[in-house]
């Protein structure tokens, strides 16, 4: 029975108790995802969530859709198999900064490179939550954790830059506490044809509380972040009085009127990457929103087209022809 009625958020809640710590940023992400997905017009049975291992990777259990809680770091590989084998499914990955960028970095890189039509939610809390607080590949230098008692000396990844370096076709960033922005970003990702990576700043109240406060706290957010909206001027500040402008290779702060218009679909990923580099500059607002959104051939389309073409050209393979071909001889 196809579901005919539109879904509500509640339809997407599974019967399992949600078991994150009270106050964890994961709750609001779950809630936003359920809200956005309910509105996509996709029947529940065609939605599928894949995850690895981590607090964030518990996500699929809480979605009343199909789902697989797989092994650590490998969700993109499962998702690629799933999407190739059944392109009708709307496939989503929930992963963490450890799951997706530490053990799973290569699979993430390759799914983005190939542009498999899968949406990837990267819960970045800059820590390993589930294993109780070791530093992660996105932890800030100097962070003291159980495995870095004198402070971490690992230079962190910038997930947006990483994704762009892999040739990702859709890259965005949002914040667990910025609900409206998160929902808009999720909706844009859902609409994108191809791989979409959404980095979500997510607060781990237990092991890395407040790591994003300096930019993401509601009191400073408007001044400390800039929302990259394709086709719109790059403005920020509570009154949107300031903006950004690109001069040569440099990005400068300018009055709103002189701000450049943001383009996320240039043929070069250069602009998006340039914006990603603002992260390192404390004087600059942190870009969130849509860094890149560009059309490109989709891997699962390409693979399935070859299957279709081969069938069209050679006819659907018959078992007999599989055996009876090439140099044969008879024994009588």
């Amino acid at each position: 029975m196809a579901e005919t009625q539109a879904l509500t958020k509640k339809d997407l809640k599974s019967d399992q108790d949600v078991r994150w710590c009270p106050g964890c940023g994961d709750y609001s992400i779950l809630n936003s995802v359920q809200g956005v997905l309910a509105g996509l017009g996709i029947p529940r049975h065609n939605m599928l969530f894949v995850s690895g291992i981590g607090c964030s990777s518990r996500f699929p259990y809480y979605m009343n859709t199909y789902g697989m809680h797989s092994i650590h770091g490998r969700a993109p590989a499962f998702a690629t198999g799933i999407k190739l084998a059944n392109p009708e499914l709307s496939v989503w990955i929930a992963t963490g900064d450890g799951d997706g960028l530490s053990i799973g970095g290569n699979h993430l890189a390759h799914i983005l490179r190939r542009n498999v039509d899968v949406k990837i939610l990267l819960f970045n809390n800059e820590i390993y939550g589930l294993t109780k607080g070791q530093y992660s590949p996105t932890s800030k230098i100097g962070l003291k954790t159980k495995t870095s008692p004198m402070g971490s000396v690992d230079r962190p990844f910038n997930p947006v830059a990483f994704a762009l370096g892999c040739g990702a076709t859709f890259v965005a960033r949002t914040i667990d506490t910025h609900l409206k922005h998160m929902e808009a970003t999720l909706a844009a990702a859902a609409a994108h044809k191809g791989s979409a990576l959404i980095e979500i700043y997510q607060n781990c109240v237990i092991f890395n509380d407040g790591t994003f406060d300096a930019i993401a706290d509601k009191t400073v957010r408007d001044d400390k972040t800039i929302d990259l909206e394709p086709g719109k001027p790059m403005l920020y500040g509570k009154t949107r009085d300031r903006g950004l402008k690109v001069e040569g290779f440099d990005v400068r702060m300018v009055p709103a009127a002189s701000a450049d218009t943001w383009k996320a679909d240039t043929s070069s990923a250069g602009p998006a990457f340039v914006m990603s580099q603002l992260d390192g500059d404390p004087t600059m607002p942190r870009p969130i929103g849509i860094f890149r959104s560009v059309a490109a051939p989709i891997f699962n389309d390409g693979v399935n087209a070859q299957v279709r073409d081969a069938i069209a050209k050679k006819g659907p393979g018959k078992l007999r022809d599989l055996f009876y071909n090439g140099d044969m001889w008879q024994v009588t």
Binding site: R74, A77, T80, G81, V307, L319, R320, Y324
Partner: protein, 621 residues
């Protein structure tokens, strides 16, 4: 018809039951093609056949060096044969390196045909030799036939539009022509093959055909031989349509067939690795069979993608060799926990670690059975010959689908690259084992971890309305499949998974004892030792020894009835290309028998005589 003079007619014709020829030359000399063509023609003439190609690990090792030698051994016979032969009767050596590497294998008194055109001092030096093996006594005890093939090809192709370098590339066909003459074989099949292969470069086809014919017609060479030889067709081969097939080809075909017999399409996620790569390559060419082939970024992604494929309702397959197997262990454990069908193919090679990538070995058996964390049982099958790889692939698909379980299929480098005649199956007679997908919730609600009479859980394609559910690697409650940390449930589930896999035993036959049902010795094998064991036991029985044999296709779980069979023999000899892994397994299962492990770990199959010597030693003769 190609024009062939009948020069050799006046030579006596000698009948042989079977002959072993080894073609050996530089990697660039085209020995694999020469061997395959010879094989192909022999097949058409109705001989039984076995081949053994042996090529260097390097893509193109420096020309003329010993590591650069490439060989192809073919045995053709008028009676049933099981191996490519212990030692060649005839060795064709295209250069000093090929000669020196292979000569020690040649049967005493055997013929060695040498291309003297490639035996200059420089050639000898390139082969790393201090003296010329043509003259330093190396060849004493053999019948040496010297031919300057370089020169002969040049002369045969005089006036050809080809460059001198390309002319020399026809050497192998000249040689092949000569061998065709010697063994009284027709040229036509090879001529046809050349025309087809070079249909777009007719000048190459023509030159090679000329070289082939010239080799066949080289009257002055023929005088060097004392006879022409004949090997009659094999009359004991079962009637049917045959083709020559390598193990990897048969395995690939078997996977497609197995999926089809289950009503499924293949999803293969794989990462190239010697000697498994060609299975992926072949499946990539079966797109019109609906095969989805995915070359993943590594072995882990490969198996994970295949599990993803299975989850959606395809038959997930992943293919690899030892080092790749070692990487897949964690994901195999997940497949065990998810209880989804999956076929994992391990084409074993020499190890440990990177080891001897192009050589054969059987040393992944215990890894296949035990190489995962915790209790993660998986049925394991092993192919014994190239064509058996087809049947094993089908059987692996059956077990995977009927029991909702990953299955491991072991092959090895010897099977993968070796070829034998395969009697093509009758499509209608193949057993079907259609996969059953659950599409509607049964009375009382859908339970993802309920079980059928084989203890298999239901298979649901995502996309099925109303049956949405989640699966994962944490322990699951019986029936509901919800996460469960309950101690009793865990114990129950661990034993349930073990019982399910042990239950495969109920749908597999007890393997046949070949020979008397009791006796002094049972030679028990698994995998590619099949041919050597069959040959050796045949010989032993001819000698009157009370020896029988048995070969295991299902190595885990072991078939029912073995204990009883073993008890009918005084001892059980287990030859393995490892340090005794099956022997260890059997000892752990059956306490009261005398298992004798016989190990050879040289990257090479057992020779028949080695096994016979061992049998003799055990039986005291």
């Amino acid at each position: 018809m190609t024009q062939t003079r009948n020069v050799g007619a006046e030579l006596p014709s000698q009948q042989f039951e079977n002959v072993v020829i080894r073609f050996a030359g530089d990697s660039g000399d085209g020995m694999q093609i020469t061997g395959s063509q010879f094989t192909h023609t022999a097949a058409l003439l109705g001989n039984d056949l076995a081949t053994f190609p042996d090529f260097p690990a390097e893509i193109r090792a420096p020309a003329g060096t010993q590591p650069g030698v490439s060989g192809f051994q073919v045995r053709f016979s008028s009676s049933d044969i099981h191996t490519p032969g212990d030692r060649p009767d005839v060795l064709v050596a295209m250069n000093p390196a090929a000669l020196i590497v292979n000569i020690k294998d040649l049967a005493p008194g055997g013929i060695v045909i040498v291309n003297t055109g490639q035996f200059t001092e420089r050639d000898v030096a390139k082969a790393g030799l201090k003296s010329n093996p043509m003259t330093d006594g190396t060849l004493s005890g053999y019948r040496k036939i010297e031919i300057d093939i370089n020169d002969r090809v040049k002369r045969a192709l005089e006036g050809s539009p080809l460059s001198p370098k390309d002319v020399q590339r026809c050497k192998n066909f000249y040689t092949l022509g000569l061998m065709y003459w010697l063994y009284s074989r027709p040229l036509d099949p090879t001529v046809a093959w050349l025309k087809d292969k070079f249909s777009k470069k007719p000048e190459l086809a023509e030159a090679n055909i000329k070289a082939l014919t010239a080799g066949f017609n080289a009257g002055d060479i023929q005088e060097l031989f004392q006879a022409r030889y004949e090997v009659a067709p094999c009359t004991t081969m079962a009637p049917g349509t045959y083709k020559n097939i390598t193990g990897n080809e048969a395995l690939a075909i078997g996977l497609v067939a197995g999926a089809e017999l289950a009503g499924l399409k293949v999803f293969i996620g794989s990462y190239p690795i010697t000697p498994a790569s060609s299975i992926l390559e072949q499946l990539a060419s079966y797109k019109n069979y609906g095969v989805i082939s995915f070359q993943a970024e590594d072995e882990i992604a490969a198996i994970c993608s295949a599990i993803g494929g299975s989850y959606t309702g395809h038959l997930g397959v992943t293919t690899t060799s030892g080092p790749g197997m070692a990487l897949k262990g964690e994901a195999m454990g997940l497949a065990v926990s998810l209880e989804l069908p999956l076929v994992i193919v391990d084409v074993q090679r020499g190890g440990p670690s990177t080891g001897l990538p192009t050589k054969t070995e059987q040393a992944d058996l215990l890894q296949a059975i035990f190489g995962r964390n915790s209790e993660a049982p998986i049925p394991v099958l092993a192919a014994s010959t190239p064509s058996d790889a087809f049947e094993c692939a089908v059987e692996a698909c059956r077990i995977a689908v009927q029991y909702m379980t990953p299955v491991i299929l072991l092959s090895d480098g010897y099977i993968a690259n070796g070829a034998e005649p395969w009697r093509l199956p009758d499509v209608d007679k193949l057993p079907r084992f259609p996969a059953k997908f659950t599409t509607v919730a049964p009375e009382g609600g859908f339970l993802p971890y309920a079980r059928d009479e084989k203890r298999a859980r239901p298979w649901v394609k995502p996309g099925t309305p109303g049956l949405e559910h989640r699966i994962g690697g944490l322990e699951k409650a019986h029936l509901t499949g919800h996460i469960s940390y309950d101690p009793e449930n865990h114990d129950f589930m661990v034993r349930m998974r073990a019982a399910k896999v042990a239950g495969v035993r109920d749908t597999i036959p007890t393997p046949a004892v070949v020979g008397e049902p009791q006796g002094d010795l049972l030679v028990l094998g698994w995998g590619s030792t099949y041919g050597s064991i069959a040959s050796a036991v045949e010989i032993a029985r001819h000698k009157g020894q009370k020896v029988s044999r048995m070969h295991l296709r299902h190595v885990w779980p072991l078939p029912a009835g073995l204990d009883e069979i073993f008890s009918r023999f005084k001892a059980i000899l287990i030859p393995e290309m490892n340090l005794g892994q099956l022997a260890r397994l059997l000892r752990s299962e059956y306490q009261r028998h005398d298992f004798i492990s016989y190990s050879k770990v040289q990257g090479l199959p057992f020779k028949t005589f080695e096994l016979n010597n061992k049998i003799d030693a055990i039986l005291g003769k």
